[in-house]
């Protein structure tokens, strides 16, 4: 097949589409976490990439130190890192509640530097391998391509968690409390709901989503201290394109952008790193509040 003067082999196209979907799964999980946190706390969590990286490291250490395998890590790592998130919220972010949101942003930015520096100090820039669990090793023959089972699992797991989160926030009573507390915290407190605890748990949940993505990523990309920084800028582009605070928007945009990146890798590889930002620039020109966001 020839397109734009490139000779494109179909297996390469499918392969890149698959990688695009995988990256999209991570973008969706991360931007979803950012959107959940933003909705409740009105801050952008710049430490999100660091928490993603720490999720992967948690999986690595659970296996190495305690022998707990991938499936335990999938549950425990988000809980552990989510607890770290809760501590961060209680210790630091809470104190900045009344100030300009720029200060909370700078705070999470500083925390990201601390976490990143600590891990880089002990593990250097190189990556550590994390084996694919044996239940998910191997590949399926789909007729037109081979699909490694683990990659299929990542896509399914990420979609399931994203959909579950959307369901909880938009369709349950807990979600209704949450949305109400976003609109008018004082009123919701008057009804006897412990809003500060809800804020802490929301932040912890957003962080846990990032850690979950980190565990999913561990067997695909190596466990590296720099893995969070590399992905964060693209996730920000996803959030800007989708529109801040839109749950569904951030999920959809994450997957679509991943696929578009994959396609770019096939047709014009030089631009594959920048395509997300170019799309962001175009969206900003046409719809400054994002595709799914409300204008303010």
């Amino acid at each position: 097949m020839t397109l734009f003067g490139h000779v494109v082999s179909l297996p390469a196209l499918y392969g890149q589409l698959l990688i695009g979907l995988i990256n999209g799964s991570f973008y969706a999980l991360l931007s979803l976490g950012l959107a959940v946190i933003f909705g409740m706390l009105q801050i952008v969590n710049f430490a999100h990439g660091a928490f993603y990286m720490m999720g992967a490291f948690a999986a690595y250490f659970l296996l190495k130190l305690t022998g707990l395998n991938y499936w335990f890590a999938l549950i425990l790592a988000p809980l552990i890192i989510g607890a770290v998130g809760a501590v961060v919220e209680r210790l630091f972010l809470k104190r900045l509640a009344g100030f300009d949101p720029l200060y909370s942003l700078l705070l999470t930015f500083g925390l990201a530097l601390v976490f990143q520096g600590l891990f880089q100090n002990y593990f250097g820039a190189s990556g550590m391998p994390y084996a694919i669990p044996k239940e998910l090793s191997g590949a399926w023959n789909l007729g037109f391509m081979f699909l490694p089972v683990y990659r299929g699992w990542v896509i399914v797991a990420s979609m399931a968690v994203c959909f579950g989160t959307w369901l909880v926030i938009e369709r349950t009573k807990l979600g209704a409390y949450l949305r109400a507390a976003t609109e008018n915290p004082t009123m919701v407190r008057a009804f006897g709901v412990n809003v500060p605890r809800m804020v802490t748990l929301t932040y912890a949940f957003g962080v846990a989503l990032a850690a979950f993505a980190g565990v999913l990523a561990a067997p695909i990309n190596q466990v590296r201290p720099g893995m969070g920084v590399d992905i964060l800028a693209v996730v920000f582009a996803v959030v800007v394109i989708g529109g801040m605070g839109s749950i569904l928007g951030s999920i959809l945009t994450g997957f679509v952008l991943g696929v578009l990146e994959g396609l770019t890798k096939v047709f014009y590889p030089e631009a594959s790193n920048t395509v997300a930002f170019v799309i962001m620039a175009i969206v900003l020109l046409v719809r400054p509040s994002g595709l799914f966001g409300r204008a303010h």
């Binding site: 700078l106 500083g110 530097l113 930002f277 900003l284």
Partner: protein, 323 residues
């Protein structure tokens, strides 16, 4: 009666303010004059470039309350363009620097036009994303030489007269560039244009309702800030004789935020002092490797939690003047 008292105290304040600013300026010039005799001159010149970079950044955060998390793109692009002009096109240093400043200004206008319509955190995310785009561009583009960067940039004769490969000439040149940039930014902030910027910072809807096109003022401030950041980056290329990926990286963007925060946002002298502190920290803590990042992050957190005015801001508040 009260009116006269108030007028007198206002006059008193202006008088005290002028005095304090003269003292601060004289101290700074004296320090610049003495510095190369007590510290390694290359280090001082590096610090001066970053000081100018931080002053340019402060023009946005301090006076328009816009946080750019991608200011390294202007420093880095100007540095690359200046290095390319001096090395490949054989430009003398002043025109090479002009090329760098021009490139940064154009980039600043383009990014500003896209980013300026958004507020606060949105603005920070957009600038960060664009800076990352410029970073990837610098990795790929042929003229930047990717990981290697542009090495061995000739220092040449400024305007064909002064040979900058002489370390003393270079030092005086860099000091003059810094003072020019510093005074120009101070002038901008104190001009009627600067007053409108400060008014936008305090209450944008009111400024708009008074008939000013706030977006245009913000765009002008962003472009100016990018241009001065470019001046710092281009000068740095001549000083260090190279341009590298570090200059466009996210860590440089975060360092300039830290410098301004430590010194004091919205003060004239804070960013320069903050730059000196951060650069010194990097130099003297270099043997601790990645601990520098950890320390920088911790300083960030400490400043945000307990020291939001920064050093100069705190001093000015104690002395009841604005520096």
């Amino acid at each position: 009666m009260t009116a006269t008292v108030e007028a007198a105290s206002a006059r008193d304040f202006t008088e005290r303010n002028r005095k304090a600013n003269w003292i601060a300026f004289a101290t700074m010039v004296a320090l610049i004059a003495v510095a190369p005799f007590v510290a390694y001159p290359f280090f001082v010149m590096q610090a001066l470039c970053f000081a100018l970079f931080a002053c340019a950044f402060n023009l946005l955060i301090g006076y328009v309350n816009l946080l750019s998390l991608g200011h390294a793109m202007f420093l880095g692009l100007a540095s690359y363009c200046c290095a390319h002009a001096a090395k490949v096109w054989g430009f003398e240093p002043v025109s090479a620097i002009a090329v760098g400043v021009l490139a940064a200004t154009v980039l600043g206008f383009a990014v500003g036009a896209l980013a300026i319509r958004s507020f606060g955190i949105y603005f920070a995310m957009i600038t960060l994303a664009f800076a990352q785009m410029v970073y990837f561009f610098s990795v790929e583009a042929p003229f930047t030489h990717g990981e290697d960067g542009i090495q061995g940039v000739p220092q040449g004769k400024a305007l064909g007269l002064v040979d900058l490969s002489n370390p003393w000439a270079l030092y005086v040149f860099v000091a003059l560039v810094f003072l020019f940039g510093f005074l120009a930014i101070e002038r901008i902030v104190q001009s009627p244009f600067g007053e409108i910027l400060k008014a936008i910072r305090e209450n944008e809807p009111r400024v708009i309702s008074l008939g000013y096109r706030a977006t245009l003022y913000k765009l002008a401030a962003f472009t100016l800030s990018a241009g001065f950041a470019g001046l710092a980056g281009a000068t740095k290329a001549i000083v260090a004789q190279n341009a590298s990926l570090t200059d466009v990286s996210l860590s440089t963007s975060s360092e300039v935020v830290l410098m301004t925060l430590v010194g004091g946002m919205g003060t004239f002298y804070g960013p320069a002092l903050g730059a000196l502190i951060v650069i010194a920290m990097q130099n003297y803590l270099a043997q601790f490797g990645e601990w520098v990042t950890v320390i920088q992050g911790a300083v960030f957190v400490a400043c945000v939690l307990a020291f939001r005015r920064g050093i100069v801001g705190e001093l000015a508040a104690r002395a009841k003047v604005s520096l």
